[in-house]
């Protein structure tokens, strides 16, 4: 089975020059943890996720373990300021590399790619010009497998 058969079409996305703050509001209201980032012409440029935003808010010197515990720091104040600074930036400054698969990729290959890139909520299905055609999450694959197992769909 090929990717285009089970992908979700017309997914929600963010434009590369949108402000991070606005995108985050949209993500939270839609209960989405990741969005494809597109440039003009629907070309895939990256993904923005709650993790990628968070990794820009928590300082590197803490993430790296150089400063192990900071019970003495006003964490909310620090994080709030970092969030405010980040919210005004464009998505291109925060986005991460996407996990892309082609329209004719096999289901097994898409599943393997999702397992290898664990932190990605879903794979972006693109055509030959890197234009976004749809998305496939691990849940989509599992749903399809479950339906097959229950005999509701033909193999």
């Amino acid at each position: 089975m090929h990717a285009h058969k089970i992908m979700v079409r017309n997914p929600e996305s963010a434009h590369i020059d949108e402000q991070v703050g606005k995108v985050l509001v949209r993500m939270r209201s839609l209960k989405l943890r990741m969005l494809p980032v597109l440039s003009d012409g629907n070309h895939v440029e990256g993904v923005i996720s709650t993790y990628s935003v968070m990794s820009h808010i928590v300082p590197n010197y803490i993430v790296s373990g150089d400063l192990e515990s900071v019970p003495y720091a006003p964490d909310l104040g620090l994080l709030r300021r970092h969030y405010r600074e980040l919210a005004g930036k464009t998505v291109r400054e925060v986005m991460e590399k996407p996990l892309c698969v082609h329209l004719d990729e096999s289901l097994l290959s898409v599943a393997a790619a999702l397992c290898s890139f664990g932190k990605h909520e879903y794979a972006l299905v693109v055509d030959g010009d890197s234009r976004l055609m749809g998305v496939i999450s691990a849940g989509d694959i599992l749903d399809r497998l479950r339906l097959h197992a229950e005999g509701e769909l033909d193999a």
Partner: protein, 448 residues
């Protein structure tokens, strides 16, 4: 060339012992500088080659190890390893930032003072290891670029470490070799350190001070820090402060009681190890003891052991005496010129190579100058010149001292890399300035 080499027995393959020993020394220096292998392993390998090659017997090699330096270093490392668990470094750093109400320049000055004072009484590497990450947090809260703060901290650690016998490994080696006490260092080196420190801060102000601004909101954030939360173990902190006070007091009076600094440091370490787990079951005591021993920098200790043996080997061949004679020939046997040469060459060399092997080589060389200048007592200003040159020289480049590289590593990981040339552009001139001030001081105090 100096007298014939007085080596113990037959040298391997009938080689000239002098060239073999010098070859080993230079090869080990060169490979250490490449930073491709562990330096302790290299030094021990070189030491083994000195014995296996027939330059030294094992007895001569062991006799060449300065156990006063080794004991002092190990003892202080144990005390520092326990003290750093208390959170006192972080407490003092945050408190100092709050004392100046988060004003950016005031914070830079206070963190530099804290670093310099800690570095004078504890080792520089531990000081920056614990203060630099807190500095990144404070500059982050202030919303200012961390580079000026980290730059000042590097310089402060090396300047502060110059002030005392225990501040920097070269001083420990010099103090032990020349029988100079903790008090001698305080009386002879400490007086010039505040002036060098203030001049350095003034230069840093000119370079960065006017660009340091923080909003009221950012400064409020600093005032919201709760430094009391930094103290992880108040009981242990009291024990550490008690033992540190005893040890530093002991250092200042050790000379009067004919005690070596290593005795004071090792006794203090043993006492703190005892107090640290007082009242706990034996299994927990053993566990804590093993944890502390694992934190002792054995690489540094064994690097010293190997280095002492290598330098002893070279010394036995007469090469260092020859080098001393050549130096004296170049300076015409003039004490002023020799002092200037020791000071400036030490500074430039220490900026570019590891100052520990450099000082290890310079010590016997200066000893060899004693007959020319009228005995060991006359050499004292040369020891101060070597200490000032070797310690302050570490500020000349990013590779000049271990503490510099530690801070650079933190900066890199935090996303604010300190570029080698950028650092050197700012620091080398400041280092030369500090050496010029030291030269004037040495001249006025000992030569005029």
């Amino acid at each position: 060339m100096h007298d014939a080499p007085h080596v113990a027995g037959a040298v391997i393959f009938g080689l000239d012992p002098l060239w073999l020993a010098v070859g080993i020394l230079l090869a080990i220096y060169a490979v250490v500088m490449l930073e491709k292998f562990n330096r302790a392993v290299l030094a021990l390998l070189g030491a083994g080659m000195m014995i296996l090659g027939g330059v030294l017997t094992q007895q001569q090699a062991v006799a060449g190890i300065d156990f006063n330096t080794i004991g002092l270093l190990t003892g202080m490392m144990v005390i520092v390893a326990i003290s750093q668990k208390t959170g006192m470094f972080q407490y003092v750093a945050i408190r100092s930032a709050k004392v100046v109400r988060g004003r950016p320049w005031g914070v830079l000055v206070m963190l530099s003072v804290v670093t310099a004072v800690f570095s004078a009484f504890l080792d520089n590497v531990t000081t920056v290891l614990l203060v630099a990450p807190v500095t990144l947090l404070i500059t982050d809260a202030l919303g200012v670029r961390p580079y000026p703060y980290l730059f000042a901290q590097i310089l402060a650690s090396n300047i502060g470490g110059t002030a005392t016998l225990i501040g920097d490994p070269p001083n420990i080696m010099i103090g032990s070799a020349a029988h100079l006490s903790f008090y001698d260092f305080l009386a002879n080196l400490a007086p010039i350190i505040p002036l060098i420190f203030l001049m350095t801060l003034a230069a840093i102000w000119l370079m960065f001070g006017r660009d340091l601004h923080a909003s009221e909101e950012s400064r409020d954030l600093i005032m919201q820090f709760n430094e009391r939360e930094a103290i992880k173990d108040a009981t242990l902190l009291k024990k550490c402060l008690f033992v540190l006070a005893l040890v530093i007091g002991g250092f200042t009076v050790a000379h009067d009681f004919h005690l070596e600094p290593a005795t004071i440091a090792m006794s203090g370490a043993a006492l703190l190890l005892l107090l640290q787990t007082w009242g706990q079951p034996l299994s927990e005591k053993d566990h804590a003891y093993e944890g502390i021993m694992a934190e002792v920098e054995w690489t540094t200790i064994f690097f010293f052991v190997g280095l002492f043996i290598i330098v002893t080997g070279v010394e036995h061949t007469g090469a260092i005496a020859w080098l001393a004679e050549r130096t004296l020939a170049l300076t015409g046997g003039d004490f002023n010129a020799t002092l200037a040469a020791v000071l400036w060459i030490s500074a430039v060399a220490s900026a570019l190579i590891d100052n520990i092997p450099f000082v290890a080589t310079m010590i016997p060389m200066i000893h060899n100058m004693a007959p020319t200048f009228g005995g060991e007592a006359a050499l004292v200003p040369l020891w101060w010149a070597l200490a000032l040159g070797a310690c302050l020289g570490g500020n000349g480049s990013l590779i000049g001292a271990s503490a510099n590289l530690i801070v650079a590593g933190f900066a890199q990981r935090a996303g604010y890399p300190i570029r080698f040339l950028e650092f050197m552009k700012h620091a080398f001139l400041l280092m030369l300035l500090s050496i010029a001030v030291s030269h004037v001081y040495l001249y006025l105090r000992y030569l005029a």
